[in-house]
Amino acid sequence: MTDGSSSQDAVTIERTIDAPVELIWQVWTDPEHFAAWYGPNGATIPLAKMDVRVGGTRLICMDVSTPNGPMQMWFAGEYREIIENKRLVYTESMSNQNGDIIDPADVGMPPGHPITTEVRVELEPVGRRTRLLLTHVGIPADSPGAIGWAMALDKMAAHVSARR
């Protein structure tokens, strides 16, 4: 599934942060903490739902101010890997408020933006500090991962409507 050409479709950032791994893990996995810092400057996160377990879903709402006035954006995803204080992997797609995935091209994102991307957060203690490695990678639309993700969403939608 991995090939050399995919390396171009990822952004990787490495930082050493002056905080222990446990605290960094907390601000990524506790919705209240996450909402306090995530998003661009000037944005707020009025809602963050995070079912932090493998296969659990996440839904983030972001209020962004644009030159055309305030705008609300939703992002849905699924947790893929959870190793506490060490490795967090989740998918991310633009969505509506119900978590139904939206094609980025339909909301004016530049062409070539994958519908589903994957965010990986890897933490490693360096004394009292932490080395954070962030990777944001695109999942090709026809990959087994993307198909599994679509199926999971369908299951979730069925589950939700069955409960109504």
């Binding site: 950032i13 942060i17 962030l134």
Partner: protein, 84 residues
Amino acid sequence: MNELAAPFELTLPAISKHIKTLERAGLVTRGHLAQYRPCALDAAPLAEVATWAEQYRPVWETRLDRMDDYLAKLKSTRTEAHDD
């Protein structure tokens, strides 16, 4: 150089300066052919900054800056709490 300058309303020294900049950025390579210095364009590095992922780099840099600020705030709050 004359050929490259022809389509533009720029002086030869100005064109030369622009080519040197592109050469330093690794986007243009220059060869030797008698008294000519033929230029070749290598646009591959431009494709890298044009991918969706590279457009996210500044977004993540800002997010991580904000995370850093928030962690600092958390730590100072905790320290104050301990001092009480």
